[in-house]
């Protein structure tokens, strides 16, 4: 198929779409990031009574019919609705119409942790309450995780696309974007729609509670008193294409994807490994041709758990030295959106570059000395950013780090 290619195409972001708890649409999302908006609120997606907490970051005010036109939205699970809406926004933002994309060779790759988790939850509930013979076939039809990507292809009428889903848990968004970067770089596709999507679910909430990783009230990444994550939901989709293609179309270029790296701890199902995370960061910087001191901002995985934040910051210092670049976590605002997290963070990183600001780490009181990073507490700051590093880590030790650069930057 493809021989090892030495000459690589440069890859740029020309479209973005977002469904998030702090705003639906790129502008609302950007406003939310800049103003430090919180997506947290009482859970409505399921009955949270009896759980040790009842707060999560849900998407509200989302009208799927505004974005989903071809596929009946009623036939889609919640994660697919988010994904399709975000994809539609991204294509519109890219200034391309879907018909033109249909004539080109493409890739649709979406990351997820749990796919249509709400549907699986409902089917399981039916099995418990009424017996498995009463399962709803319409819900059964939505369970295959590949549907997240297939629904996008169907909505945008794309047939000549490879459409699949990457299920590497909480780094899945970066995995998907990285795969798309390679496909465009190698000239295998003309365009890629990539990102991540997940919906809030009872089972996910229960799982993180069982692990003792859910904060009772708010998420405080890098804080001395951080107590864990808030579960969240949402989707982000990016349009990637080659620089030449974007210039030829006269498209607005939001950022260049300079590179990415991926690896696996291969040590523990849930505890991250400092050396392995550091290696992944180094792989990404090498791929991007960027030196550690050229990174202006790190969008951290930053879950707000005791273990993640310390391990991640240690890994960052291993690569970037004792005075690493400013390191923020948008999970303080969005909660942990699972497979969507690093995709939403990739959009946030891109917006930071194009709109010239660093999103804050909110809910912050006192930085944990063991983390020891400038997390831009509570208030956004203006900044001219040339290179942003976006970390994604996951259970299973699946790490992926993305490096974005300002278009036309000079080193």
């Amino acid at each position: 198929m493809t021989a090892r290619v030495e000459e690589r195409r440069r890859v740029v972001v020309t479209g973005m779409g977002v469904v998030s708890s702090i705003g639906v649409g790129v502008d609302a999302f950007a406003d939310g990031l800049r103003s430090g908006r919180s997506g947290a609120g009482p859970i409505t997606a399921f009955d949270a009574s009896g759980f040790p907490s009842d707060v999560a970051c849900e998407v509200t005010g989302f009208d799927p019919d505004r974005w989903i036109r071809t596929v009946p939205a009623a036939n889609l699970g919640r994660a697919s609705r988010f994904a399709v809406a975000a994809a539609r926004m991204a294509v519109e933002d890219a200034g391309g119409d879907a018909c033109a994309l249909g004539e080109r060779r493409g890739l649709v790759v979406m990351g997820t942790t749990s796919g249509e988790s709400q549907d699986v939850d409902r089917l399981a509930e039916t099995a418990v309450v009424d017996g498995p013979e009463r399962m709803d076939p319409d819900l059964v039809d939505r369970v295959s995780a590949q549907n997240l990507a297939l629904s996008i292809a169907r909505e945008l009428r794309l047939s000549d696309v490879d459409a699949y889903v990457i299920g590497t848990a909480c780094s899945a968004g970066n995995y998907a974007i990285g795969d798309a970067v390679d496909a465009v770089r190698l000239g295998q596709v003309d365009f890629a729609l990539c990102g991540g999507s997940d919906a809030l679910s009872r089972r996910t909430f229960a799982t993180f509670h069982r692990l003792g990783l859910v904060a009772p009230d708010v998420c405080r990444p890098f804080d001395r008193d951080r107590r864990g994550i808030l579960t969240g939901e949402g989707s982000a989709v990016l349009v990637l294409e080659s620089l030449d293609s974007a210039l030829e179309r006269g498209a607005t270029i939001h950022a260049e994807v300079l590179g990415y790296g991926l690896n696996c701890d291969a040590r523990h199902p849930v505890s991250p490994s400092r050396s392995s995370v550091a290696r992944c960061v180094q792989l990404a910087l090498d791929d991007a041709g960027v030196k550690p001191d050229e990174v202006d901002l790190i969008s951290a995985h930053g879950t707000g758990t005791k273990l993640n934040d310390v391990t991640e910051c240690e890994a960052i210092r291993d690569v970037h030295g004792d005075e690493p670049p400013r390191t923020v976590s948008i999970k303080s605002m969005l909660g942990h959106t699972m497979g969507a997290a690093s995709a939403l963070a990739a959009v946030a990183s891109t917006l930071a570059i194009t709109r010239g600001f660093i999103p804050p780490t909110t809910n912050h009181r006192v930085t944990d000395p063991a983390c020891g990073v400038d997390c831009v507490p509570n208030h956004a700051v203006d900044a001219d950013l040339r290179v942003v590093q976006n970390n994604g880590l996951a259970f299973g030790g699946d790490n992926a780090v993305l490096v974005l650069g300002k278009h036309g930057r000079t080193v």
Binding site: V143, A163, G167, T168, R203, N263
Partner: protein, 350 residues
């Protein structure tokens, strides 16, 4: 184009035919069916027959303790991948795992939801199975068990998962992100899956389970190749019927590799649905379409079906000198609206 295409240099399977590549190859060649009555004490399912991996005890097969709490998909993956891993070749930073799935272990996900509904507190899930609730558990377990610290990707692609995974893996190699990738797919049999199949777009066959994995390396490897991967094509079916999409897909696959349809030695299809048969009959003669059996002997193996189809080709071809050097097409499709095809060239001089 010598050295341009990646090559398969090894494979392994755990299947209803038994454990290992030899058992699978012998089973395919024998044509024996594998469906057995389902033990109602163990499985609470709507259909009374299934194609199960026989004598499956993960701790015995992999060696070690603490594995019995793993979901069945992860256990099957550990056994299948374990049959292929060579220390130093498939391990370390430059080696990867790409594992195809439908949705991970749906049984584990539903068990956790059940726990949440019936336990005294809704978060009191079974702690021993928490890791199995994540779709990437099987791939991560393989990485941990065998020390594979390069790319570790779980790819959900329905029944064509192994085909998508093969293309993904090719890309990892072409981009220089790994020197070798173990790529394949796994699917577990479970009560949950049986009920989903019962209510869903089932194939009508009894359910099967297992996994098959391949070592994919750049064409420049010094290890002996079993087959070159000349191309992969996939399509999304937009208007219901798979027939035009499949025709387009296979046509493009052959054209891009400059392989005339008449040169193809065998075409194996995982689903053999009516539209699929019609589309393929337009392109290939009956002999080509029947040289390698489809997967019906081992039932509907879901995501693993496309991996098993590739394994079937290698199983049949290894005993037939006439197959040497010939192109082979493996066709797959998912009822949710995808078709996918792989073009291989079998090793040897034609």
């Amino acid at each position: 184009m010598a050295g341009a295409a990646p090559v398969i240099t090894g494979w392994s399977a755990v299947s209803p035919f038994g454990h290992g590549r030899e058992a699978y190859a012998a089973g395919v060649r024998s044509g024996r069916p594998t469906a057995v009555p389902v033990d109602p004490e163990r499985w609470s399912v709507p259909e009374d027959r299934a194609c199960l991996v026989p004598d499956f005890d993960v701790e015995e097969l992999v060696g070690g303790k603490g594995l019995r709490h793993l979901d069945r998909a992860s256990a099957l993956a550990l056994v299948a991948v374990g049959g292929l891993v060579e220390q130093g070749v498939d391990t370390g930073e430059r080696a990867g795992v790409v594992l195809g799935t439908t949705s991970g272990s749906v049984q584990t996900e539903m068990d956790h939801m059940r726990d949440s509904l019936v336990k005294s507190r809704p978060h009191l899930l079974n702690t021993k199975t928490l890791a199995s609730g994540s779709m990437n558990c099987a791939a991560a377990q393989c990485a941990i068990r065998y020390g594979i610290t390069g790319p570790n990707t779980t790819l959900a692609g329905g029944r064509s998962a192994a085909v998508h995974a093969l293309r993904y893996s090719d890309r990892l190699l072409a981009a220089g992100r790994a020197d070798s990738v173990i790529v394949g797919a796994v699917e577990e049999y479970s009560s949950a899956r049986a009920w989903l199949a019962h209510h869903g777009r089932g194939s009508g066959s009894p359910l099967g389970e297992g996994g098959a994995f391949f070592r994919l390396e750049p064409g420049s490897t010094h290890r002996a190749a079993l087959a070159e991967v000349l191309g992969v094509e996939t399509r999304v079916c937009l208007d219901g019927s798979a027939r035009p999409a499949l025709h387009d897909c296979v046509r493009a696959l052959l054209d891009r590799a400059s392989v005339p349809a008449a040169d193809v030695w065998a075409v194996v299809s995982t689903t053999a649905s009516e539209p699929e048969r019609e589309a393929l009959a337009e392109l290939f003669d009956l002999r080509t379409l029947t040289r390698v059996p489809g997967g019906h002997q081992i039932g509907d193996t879901g995501a693993a079906s496309s991996a098993f189809a590739i394994a079937s080709v290698l199983s049949i071809a290894e005993r037939l000198p006439e197959a040497a050097g010939r192109p082979v097409v493996v066709v797959s499709g998912d009822p949710h609206g995808t078709v996918a095809a792989v073009l291989l060239r079998l090793a040897g001089e034609r």
